[in-house]
Subunit: 341 residues, 2 copies
């Protein structure tokens, strides 16, 4: 981050016609983006582009989700037809929608809005061995990097993470446990809706995955990712790395993005300077990931949908935070009396 842009942003905030600190968390966002972008005021984070990374998970076979695996493919079709919640929210905030097949367990018909960067037909079952090879993890990272670069080259000035993959909260919990050191029971949630028995099985699966794969504190990040991640986690980590390289902000969605961002942090800590936490989902692992990332979520409405929905909702808030830096008058320019000290 640029120290001088941070200092300029703090000084500018203090001159604006509002009580000091009265915009709360939005002031931090504006200062953060000034620092990460290296310019004050920070560039308006628009237009925004949502990329939904879709993939399947071998661990689905362990009964960790009540949803059939084919819902991943069905929802990809729904995104492409414009019928999902992510489409409605993207329309609301003016974001483009790109769907990326990084590893769905079926072949998808080509069509506008679909980018095929398939690494495999779903990962292997992480509870009995590595989910993917190190080579595949790198290929998935590269897919995310490539998508980010293409969107930025096309004019996007804010990237928004999205994901779709039945059973992907299980892989997320394993990644979060590995990177934060917290016990699987603390970071494994109920995903899109499971009962107590399924939840207990899910915790046990996460625990076994870490043990079977020999994941310990300090295990090298790429090995963690390959052992217990999903193709979409790897791709989102790459997406974050490429956005950071281009100094374009990324709004992170929920627990899948949180797990992916922990991976990016482990690989390149400064990449997180470019991230804004769009929301805090109902998943316990997400709150743990955000604490470890040092990010404060902007929206906290008990969403647990994924797809990028929470991050999309945060986009107008991020824009508002930055817009203040461009458009609001100063005490001097507006002739408004300052509070006496």
């Amino acid at each position: 981050a640029s120290a001088s842009a941070v200092a300029d942003a703090l000084a500018h905030q203090a001159r604006l016609t509002k009580p000091a600190g009265s915009l709360g968390a939005l002031e931090e966002v504006a200062v953060r983006l000034a620092g990460s972008g290296g310019v004050c005021p920070p560039a308006m984070p628009a237009p925004a582009a949502l990329a939904i990374f879709a993939a399947d998970h071998g661990v689905h076979a362990q009964g960790v989700s009540p949803w059939p695996q084919e819902v991943t493919v069905q929802m990809v079709a729904n995104f492409l037809a414009g019928g999902a919640v992510a489409n409605a929210f993207a329309a609301q905030v003016g974001a483009s929608v790109t769907v990326v097949d990084v590893g769905v367990a079926a072949d998808l018909p080509a069509g506008p809005g679909l980018v095929v960067r398939k690494i495999g037909y779903g990962t292997a079952d992480l509870s009995i061995g590595p989910a993917m090879s190190a080579g595949d993890a790198v290929a998935a990272l590269e897919a995310g990097i490539s998508v980010a670069r293409t969107l930025i080259d096309s004019g996007a000035r804010c990237l928004i993470t999205g994901d779709m993959g039945i059973a992907n909260t299980t892989a997320s919990a394993a990644l979060i446990s590995a990177f934060t050191g917290l016990d699987p029971a603390e970071v494994t949630g109920r995903g899109t809706g499971i009962d107590d028995e399924t939840h207990a099985r899910k915790v046990a699966v996460v625990r076994r995955a870490l043990s079977v794969n020999g994941i310990e504190p300090g295990t090298e990040p790429l090995r963690v990712l390959a052992a217990v991640g999903g193709f979409e986690h790897a791709a989102i980590a790459g997406f974050v790395l490429a956005a950071a390289e281009a100094r374009v902000p990324v709004i992170l969605d929920g627990v899948i993005a949180g797990a992916a961002a922990l991976t990016a942090q482990a690989l390149a800590p400064a990449s997180i300077d470019h991230c804004v936490a769009g929301h805090r989902s109902a998943e316990p692992g997400h709150a743990a990931a955000l604490r470890h990332l040092g990010l404060r979520p902007l929206v906290d409405l008990e969403l647990r949908l994924g797809e990028g929905t929470g991050a999309l909702l945060a986009h107008p808030l991020v824009c508002a935070a930055v817009r203040v830096m461009h458009e609001v008058a100063t005490f001097d320019s507006a002739g408004v009396s300052e509070k006496p000290m």
Copy 2:
């Protein structure tokens, strides 16, 4: 609220291609607006119109705010020039901005965007007697009603409350204490920024105001409003009543709107069905008001600016909640498998 529209909204939510309940608080908003509007899906709450009700307060003489009273007039000029945070946020969400002088302590030059409905040159000091006469309270209510009707007649399909008035958090605390029955110490905050000594004085002023004016549990609402309210509180209460009559949703801003909505609730409880709590401000009285109103705030970012800023930030969230009801595919229509029960 329309019971059949509520039932239709709940049934429609269950058919949409998303896990049940996965949109958290936004689902409640959509169902609530269906019920209050009497139609499912509810009408899109756009375009939105912000009305900033500005007034001064005789209690300023008690030293409850560090800001000079003339900041009210200066900020009105800033709103009209487009230089305030509320203007930047309104631009972000596409809301119009109307400034209403309901009782600023100076004459304002006429200009576009300014509606003059001045009831007086600031209220009287509520800590030594009634802030206004009952007649003036009614006149201020009527001003708010008139502004709401004009905005709705001009096409607004969502009203947003805003306020400006140095010392208006003191009157808000008195109204909130009166309507919730909570002690002044529990509901009196630090406004836009005061030290411990000023805060202690402010609590004492609120306590004295309620005592001097003989406000007790069960005091008639109009008498409470006239005794310890501000012209902008009365006007915002009228604004809420008129919006409810027209079945147009209102997004409430912070503690001033909360105090005004408690007044509207006391006068006509069903009017609150049409209200959405835009945010929860840092003022303790605001949280108390929201609990009493039964409203859950959508944005919670420690804002304490007023002007309508918190409500403006919530507008895209409310739109997103409603848009889901219009645009998202159902499991049937999209061919997505439902979760087995």
